[in-house]
Amino acid sequence: MAREDPQLVAGIRAREPAALERVVRAYLKQIERAGRGAGLDAHQAEEVAQATFVTFIETAHRFEGRSTVRTWLFGIFFRKLQEARRGFARDRQLDDVDEVFESRFDPAGHWSTPPRAPGSDLDSQAILDDIRDCLGQTPERQRMAFVLKEVEELSTDEICNILEITSTNLGVMLFRARNRLRECLESKGLER
């Protein structure tokens, strides 16, 4: 895993205003976006971003530079997100999307219900509305894994650290998220 600039690490540990400020300026937009990626509205995303950075500033002296600042921040972010959502059902061990996936193939593993090729207009408001709706139906951790991978483009190691899961588990989450989204979009008619 990449290491952080030692000078920045020292500055953060000493809680030097300039170093803390540098982190806020570098990552606030990304953290806010991840909140919206997790399905929060603009207001909630701002609140979770604020809580993330306040905790970061207050606990900066504990940052040892063993992970990057970004991983550290996303870790705080993810805990704040869960706090903000406490009470939501945890992901079920068994997921009905697995059964749906199975049902798309015959016993030999050939498609029995083939996928439909997507249309080329990915910019239309309709498809954006559809994906928003479909993301809304995707369980928290699957959705977060998908967004960190596809939008924030974090590495597998980094995502596993943030979500505190193994790489095998991450594969299962991405598999479920993508198949759920694909089924959802297909049901809305994606050939547009």
Partner: protein
């Protein structure tokens, strides 16, 4: 020869990125001859692309974000160093 189901599982789980050259070649060959799995692969790419557009386009009120940035920077200046929570 990989089955469609194996190819789809490899694509959706992100396993392909971590796979060795033999597996990659087998998937590539399957995609070459299977239009259904090509459609599936296109769907997988589309999901990421559409999500990136959704989140990139719908920026929350940029001024609210600027205000939050100023508040946090202010906090760095007053809270950082001034009060050591362990001290």
């Amino acid at each position: 020869m990989l089955s469609c189901k194996e190819v789809a599982t490899t694509l959706a789980s992100g396993e392909l990125e971590a796979s060795g050259p033999r597996r990659r070649l087998a998937v590539w060959f399957h995609l070459l001859i299977c239009a259904y799995c090509r459609a599936y692969a296109r769907q997988m790419r589309m999901l990421g692309e559409v999500t990136r557009r959704l989140l990139g386009r719908e920026v929350a009120d940029p001024r609210a974000l600027d205000r939050l940035e100023r508040r946090l920077v202010e906090r760095c200046r007053t809270l950082g160093r001034a009060g050591d929570p362990d001290g």
